[in-house]
Amino acid sequence: MNAIECAELGKRYRRGWALRNCTLSIPAGHVVALVGPNGAGKTTLLNLAVGLATATTGAVTVLDGTPAGSPDALDRIAFVAQDAPLYANLPVADMLHVARNLNRRWDQQRAQARLAELGIPPQKKVGQLSGGQKAQLALTVALARRPDLLVLDEPLAALDPLARHDFMRSVMATVAADGISVVLSSHVVAELERVARYLIVLSFGQVTVAGNVDDLVAAQGGGLEEIVLASMRDSGKEVPA
């Protein structure tokens, strides 16, 4: 079973190709890390998978053959974009209500329980939450939709180390409890080592590495970071520090 499957997928914006000739299968039931330097095409690939963008060439399907962006795919995928965009002027409770009314599947009890656990007051405005709380709220909204696939675009980029730790712990707890698939992108490798089971390295719109973390480590030796760095050097470019 595949969470995301791309065949010859390409996306060209006015400024040029953001992703080219990308063929890959991302297996379901894991936490999959999509890694690469800034501008490597990670966000483009995720946008294509969640239906925010349409492919220039090739095709992308999700959750075993469902076309990306179709009503069925939208129903079963929860997406948290970079910087967790939510309505800053709404109180947390109303933000939940908005999300509830935009979806067919919704687990209000789960959302409220999670907020209580996190200590996020429902009457506080979303715009007044800390970065960590906002990311957790976005995750809460996403999980209340009871998705089969959770897609997170750079979920850790704006968070301090403690918030990163808490956030990843929440994601891992969900995976353990629900067995859902998670695909998350990051340009920082270190924080993914303990959570990712499957690794995809994107570099300049091309897939350079794709495989099971355990298999990759067994084959190449060293840690995740070395594997990523090696693959990026092979593609002819230095990794930005």
């Binding site: 075993d64 009503p71 939208l74 997406f79 965009p85 939510l86 009314n101 935009l102 067919r104």
Partner: protein, 348 residues
Amino acid sequence: MTATAVTAPTPRRTRRRPVSWTKLAWVSWRQHRAALTGAAALLGALGLYLLIFGLLGNHAYAKVASCHPAGSAVCQQLAHTFRADYWGGNGSALQSGGAQTISSLLLAVPVLLGVFLGAPVLARELETGTFRFAWTQGCGRVRWAMAKLTLLALVIAAATFAFTGLFTWYYHPFLVDGQVSRLLPLAFGLLGVAFAAWTLVAFAIAAFTGALLRRTLPAMAVSLIVWIVLAIGTATQLRPRYEAAIAAKGWNVGSGWVVGQWVTAPDGQALSQGTLNSLAQHAPASVQNSHAPDAFQNWLTQRHYTMWTAYQPDVRFWHFQLIEGGWLLALSAVLLAAAVWLVRRRAA
């Protein structure tokens, strides 16, 4: 990826029933509550003004209308005072302006309401990035955009149409008094269906521009300009041509909207403005210096020139209202559909 994989239902999948319009309507209401409240406050304040001065005006006009005999000096004086007070606004300090000024100011309300409500609907989501949230929810972006635009458009049209009812009552004395023709641009845009239709089209222009420019403030500025050009162009170029104007001899015609005046020579040729000016300069001193307003016209008539007036008679009011309301409604529908289409095809 095989056909069987697509059709084989997973246990968690149920028969698809789209997210209901009532749920989406609640979202639209919650997100635009503040703007709608602001619009309601503006219409409410203006409505209160119209209510107070409508009561005073209708009361004062009742005295004018019941004055007998109508031609007497007392009645003439009463009618004159009524016009000066309530049309010109000379009467009280409170009523600074009077109906003439108020109706001119009200002509700006449709564009203010429409642009203020319409521009942020899609542009705000695009500029703050929240569209990445909204467009990846289960309802889908097309349904989401349709729900938002339709609900707001209906609320705006209904509210402004109700406001027209109040304004018509307030304005009634000046219309029956013959002070203004209902077809004059000053009155036409505030009566019938025009006020609601011009608000709706302002909303549609702003919503579409917002989706196109992806920025709220530039969308407001651009749609403001577009609306003003459209409104002025319609009043000066388009509206006078909804029906062929009636040409009548003389410069004083019945109640109606004068759309053109000219003079023909005894041979039937129309005079250019330059010829008319030189005629005026060559008129005898007694005519040129006369204080009577129609001295020059009388002089022209004596010399077998003919004065003509093209006008749209008042009875065509509803016909014109329906033509204008019709094409504005169609234009609004096209613009809103185009905005939904932009949402549909816009890539992140």
